[in-house]
Subunit: 357 residues, 2 copies
DNA sequence: GTGAAAGCGCTAACAC
DNA sequence: GTGTTAGCGCTTTCAC
């Protein structure tokens, strides 16, 4: 690793001058020929700065701390972290991630991140819920990801749960479904509340009456499967909005057992959490893809804007090949969902699905 | 953040002495009363070392680089990274992870990690395949995770693919299945090769003949579903070993359409990649859980042993509440799979599944 | 046994 | 315009 010292020696100037030039602070301070020569030598020697040494001096590490739980148990995390990493990388930051097993080791992990000198924190949950932010984060720049501050003080990047369900339900209405069921999650959380409200609102805007009987909030495994089965028997729905792919799977199994084909006989719009829809059932349903990558990306942007105390919308994000969501400085923001229309819902019949036996 | 300097001042000794004591090198060099006083003061002031400053001096950062691709698209990654993080954390290291989009930005990301002074690298793939290790990693301690070095030079931690399939197939044999199908992946890779061989071997050891017609290597979506459907029609298998949950899903759907219940009429053993089995179908099948966490954990242990050039089995891993896989210093290692028996396979009938309509 | 001093690579006052 | 100097927090050699 070449150092500024070496460049200084080769160029015959002092280290300070090299530092000035290589940090772009030479304008009007260093003669341009000298500056050019320094830059040339730096390039020739393949100089890259030593972030540790710089940090020691400046007190800034350009490292962002990413604190989350459950990273091991959901694939959500990957997308969020990737987005955060990409944004960080483009803004010249690194991401240091830690996992916590609930509150137990959380403070400790955060303390470790502090020791490594992170400039700020992202605090992520893997499904939008109300959180009490740990006090140890109080005096650091902080952004919540897929979580909502109960106290309403901390900026957060979260999906627009209401709109997810509203749009999905409207899609089913537009497809001609008469009896639209909501297969939700039997746990109180922001996502569940918001989505149920969106479902209800869409129905009302479409001139339907909200019917409690069409709502099945289920947990998992056998009991969930039986609950969905009962819903089929009792209400004969022809459209389903599913909270996630696990719930959609129950609908699939129940439909299959009745000789009904999803995408032809019944319609399903589901939130794809495990990316398994895309891999297995793409042609048969409409998926709602949560913008995990974008949430991570925007969260990192927001955090950097807090750290550097500058206008977040003015980010000079370099172009790359991958298409990027424009960052609009939202704060606190609801990130819109993405409705990915994979195929027909009920009504159009070019389904790629297997016909009933 | 308190520094050694402050401790030195409060204690009336020099910084060097404090350093000696706080690094445990005081034995026979510093009077024990002084050492005790230093330690007391450090504790009182809540001293924690500044890793950056130390690194600047020692050239060691106690940071491990974790390079992987596809983190966003598979939930595998979470488990591996979590394991690696846990091990790193216990051994006093941090994990700096980067994602790559294929070879394109890989060298660049690795270069960034180098700039941050990582002591070594883990290079992970998200499904066991042969890899050519990037040359830029050549002069660093390196361990592959869920990947196999084509050149056979680099140690790796990978699942024992053969044994996964062997055990799973034997399980189906033991359950009384007569016609056991292999629903695999239509791509050449270590996992696929190893598993097909294990399947074949188990059949032969059970006195069966391997029958090509029972092997369906499929891709996904409609074509995969139709291929599995054809397999049902053509061969009427009563047992299935599935490469992953996506493949198992096709089996589920085909079975459901025929009024067959998995766990009663047909048996399925599948590798659970997306953790969706556990959430949805737990009672109906036997899942093979790949030891992602353990792979990450052991990989980090192995890497640290390379970095510190010490016997890997001698790790003094502190006890915690969570049960941990013992690290046995394997190198290069095959990590055994974990067969998690959730329920009956064919023959015993206490399935919690929904009965056919 | 303990302290003074040098230096890791870099930045930032302040001289000149 | 450029160099000198000091110092971020720590480790390590070498005097005393």
């Amino acid at each position: 690793m070449t150092t500024m010292k070496e460049i200084a020696q080769r160029t015959g100037v002092s280290v300070s001058t090299v530092s000035l030039v290589l940090n772009g602070r030479d304008e009007g301070r260093v003669k341009s020929e000298v500056a050019a020569e320094v830059r040339r030598t730096a390039k020739e020697l393949g100089y890259t700065s030593n972030p540790l040494a710089r940090s020691l001096r400046t007190g800034k590490t350009r490292i962002l701390g990413f604190v989350s739980e459950e990273v091991a148990t959901t694939p959500y995390a990957g997308g969020i972290i990737l987005g955060a990493q990409d944004a960080a990388s483009r803004l010249g930051y690194m991401l240091l991630t830690v996992n916590t097993d609930g509150r137990a080791n959380e403070d400790e992990e955060i303390a470790t991140l502090k020791r490594y000198g992170v400039d700020g924190f992202m605090y992520a949950k893997m499904s939008n819920r109300y959180v009490d932010v740990p006090a140890v984060l109080d005096d650091y720049p902080l952004v919540l990801v897929d979580a909502t501050d109960r106290a309403g003080r901390i900026p957060s990047i979260e999906p627009d749960e209401f709109r997810i369900a509203y749009d999905a339900t409207m899609r089913l209405v537009d497809a001609g479904c008469e009896r639209i069921a909501y297969v939700g999650c039997d746990e109180p959380m922001v996502a569940q509340e918001g989505r149920l409200a969106g479902y209800r609102s869409a129905l009302e805007d479409a001139g339907r009456v909200f019917d409690e009987a069409l709502v099945a909030n289920v947990l998992n495994n056998g009991p969930a499967l039986r609950a969905v089965d009962a819903l089929f028997d009792r209400e004969s729905p022809d459209g389903f909005f599913c909270f996630n792919d696990a719930r959609a799977w129950y609908v699939y199994e129940c439909a299959a057992r009745r000789g009904l084909t999803v995408g032809r006989d019944v319609s399903v719009v589901g939130v794809d959490n495990h990316r398994i829809f895309a891999e297995t059932l793409e042609p048969q349903l409409t998926t709602v893809e949560l913008p995990h990558y974008e949430m991570g990306y925007w969260a990192a942007c927001k955090l950097v804007s807090l750290i550097e105390d500058r206008d977040p919308s003015g980010f000079d994000v370099p172009d790359t090949t991958a298409p990027l969501p424009p960052y609009d400085g939202c704060n606190p923001a609801k990130v819109h969902c993405t409705l990915v229309e994979k195929a027909s819902v009920r009504g159009s019949a070019q389904s790629d699905a297997l016909s009933p036996a």
